[in-house]
């Protein structure tokens, strides 16, 4: 069903207001035992990286640096050049409207920042949180390079990474909240 964008936004806003109001009213009062959390403490634990680059740390790396790390830390499961391993396919992938396409960074993932976020928190599988920020930038650069999205010497950092636009950026239909 089509609806003007403004109309859809207005309805979504109305739903939001109703639920928001109801939720706040319903909150049972607690004893309020939480300790204040300082900005420094929050920053130290915060590893979320948003599509606009918010949350990216200082540091840098290129695909050339990243290939060495990938070959020693990642290729065992993900295969050489991000393909043909036992773990998820990371590179290549056929047309998404064809039969059974692999869903890779190059043909499916919408945001380059997600690669950094996920590698930093979860990879490598046998030693998560062991890579330095420079190493994570480098591996991220390598994964983008093998998908043909940046050059071998293009530096990835907090400014350049969010500027890499993945091909499937517009490939998603948000089901919630417009038509849950």
């Amino acid at each position: 069903m089509s609806m003007p964008e403004t109309g859809r936004k207005a309805i979504a806003a109305l739903i939001v207001l109703c639920l928001f109001g109801a939720g706040l009213q319903a909150a049972p009062e607690g004893p309020r035992l939480g300790k204040p959390l300082s900005g420094a403490d929050s920053a130290a634990m915060d590893i979320n990286v948003f599509p606009d680059g918010h949350g990216l740390p200082a540091g840098k790396g290129t695909a050339t640096d990243g290939k060495t790390i990938y070959d020693t830390q990642c290729a065992t499961c993900h295969g050489p050049k991000g393909s043909g391993g036992s773990a998820g396919e990371l590179a290549g992938g056929s047309a998404l409207d064809g039969p059974h396409p692999d869903q890779t960074i190059g043909n499916y993932w919408p945001y380059a920042t997600t690669v950094f976020d996920f590698v930093r928190r979860s990879m490598p599988l046998n030693a998560p949180r062991s890579l330095s920020d420079d190493q994570i930038y480098a591996v991220t650069a390598y994964l983008l390079q093998i998908n043909g999205l940046i050059g071998e010497t293009t530096e990835m950092n907090a400014k350049t990474l969010p500027e890499v636009r993945l091909p499937n950026r517009e490939g998603f239909l948000r089901i919630w909240p417009s038509s849950p």
Partner: protein, 426 residues
């Protein structure tokens, strides 16, 4: 003729094809006929005058924590893990071995991205930061003093039942196909209480939840759901959470796909936009035939399946049986379950076992007199919003077969003349 007998005669007449009988039969005569059906299904001999050894010697002493009977060795989770990483994978609830609506804690399904952490609760905190007026940090003891509430609901993986997308029907016990769904009583703090304490700012639209496991799994939750019925759960079915279910804290978002119900919860960051984590972009999105993918498909739609009889069971000849199954919907209560014993040509309404609770397993039952001929059993659920479980062909026509997640089509079992059952697309 008594009123009871009149009713019995009335309900023994089939109400739909394939020998389906009136659901009131079991409501009125449940003990007598239920026992009969049990005997037919299991082939057990009810006679037993001889004294058994356990009647003549003292039994085992007390135990600190009870265990199932050693005769129930098949009521176990079936583990399907990554061969390269034992803690990466899933285990299934054996729905075909269970009755009622509550899943035992030790049989609740598991999905771990990176193993089960053994968390010391004294070194675990829940931190709320980002768009809050007063960012706060809670110890587990702090949270145990908050006002607790309990609710029963299903937790279902978005990838549950995904073998249904396969070209050929998978042949496996029903729990190992649909058992990434379990139903428990969860006790915890309404998340709204904690958001209120921390002073959620009006421009916060999403909460980025994160677990304290080795995967550090993160995912974005709409503020509306967080303020509606989301719990920070500390207890499951009366006892503290098991490690594999998030000890010491996890999120429970009733009716929403399980990946959002973050286990080992230690951080909630309030933000204007979703973080676009791997598990809400590369995974848990559904590629459609158009090449576009459905994203943020949070609600688990109505589903039902016949758990008994089901593949792996064998009917012992023609006679009276009880069909028993589960239905649930992430949108609310189950309004009606219908069963067909002729491949969907005719349907009979099943009895719903009380209590029928919103977003919870609802047990349905229907008496059935099998005449020994081959036929196809099906069930279909309709929830209180009017959503009806689709036939598989309709679901595949709409969504294709590459979506992987959110499969909720009608499930069909073929009954062969020898009493064996198999999964069919029919």
């Amino acid at each position: 003729m008594t009123q009871d007998n009149a009713l019995l005669n009335d309900v023994l007449l089939p109400v739909a094809g394939g020998g389906l009988l009136d659901r009131r039969l079991f409501l009125q005569r449940s003990l007598e006929l239920g026992a009969g059906a049990g005997l037919l299904l299991t082939g057990m001999d009810a006679s037993g005058a001889e004294l058994q050894p356990w009647q003549k010697t003292p039994g085992a002493p007390f135990s600190h924590y009870g265990q199932p009977s050693p005769h129930e060795k098949e009521a176990i989770r079936w583990v399907s893990a990554n061969t390269a990483a034992a803690g990466n994978g899933i285990s299934w609830t054996p729905l075909h071995k269970l009755e009622g609506m509550i899943t035992p804690n030790g049989l609740h399904f598991e999905r771990h991205h990176h193993g089960v952490p053994q968390i010391n609760p004294d070194r675990h905190r829940l931190n709320l930061h980002g768009l809050f007026r007063n960012p706060v940090s809670f110890s587990v003891d702090d949270l145990l003093r908050d006002p607790l509430v309990s609710r029963i609901c299903v937790v279902e993986c978005g990838g549950n039942s995904n073998a249904g997308w396969h070209e050929e029907p998978i042949q496996t016990p029903v729990g190992y196909f649909h058992g990434l769904a379990s139903c428990s009583e969860w006790t915890g703090i309404p998340l709204s209480t904690l958001l209120d304490e921390a002073g959620l700012q009006p421009d916060a639209r999403w909460l980025i939840a994160e677990g304290a496991d080795a995967a550090g799994m993160n995912i974005s939750i709409p503020v509306e759901k967080a303020l509606d019925d989301t719990l920070v759960a500390l207890y499951q079915n009366g006892e503290r959470l098991r490690p594999e279910n998030g000890y010491p804290l996890r999120l429970i978002l009733p009716g929403w796909e399980a990946v959002l119900n973050v286990k080992w919860l230690h951080r909630l960051q309030a933000a204007r936009e979703p973080v676009m984590a791997r598990n809400e972009t590369a995974k848990y999105t559904e590629l459609q035939p158009s090449g576009k993918a459905r994203q943020f498909t949070f609600i688990m739609d109505a589903k039902s399946l016949i758990t008994q009889p089901s593949p792996g069971y064998r009917l012992h000849g023609p006679g009276l049986y009880q069909i028993s199954g589960l239905a649930w919907s992430g949108r609310g209560k189950i309004r009606k379950v219908e069963v067909s014993a002729d491949g969907g040509k005719s349907w009979a309404e099943a009895a719903l076992q009380e209590p029928v609770l919103s977003k919870s397993f609802t047990r349905f039952r229907l008496p059935w007199r099998w005449d020994g001929s081959p036929l196809v059993l099906k069930s279909r659920a309709i929830d209180e919003t009017g959503h009806q479980q689709p036939e598989r062909a309709a679901l595949v026509a709409e969504r294709g077969r590459n979506g992987y997640f959110h499969y909720n089509a009608i499930v069909s079992w073929a009954v062969a003349p020898d009493g064996s059952l198999s999964h069919v697309y029919a």
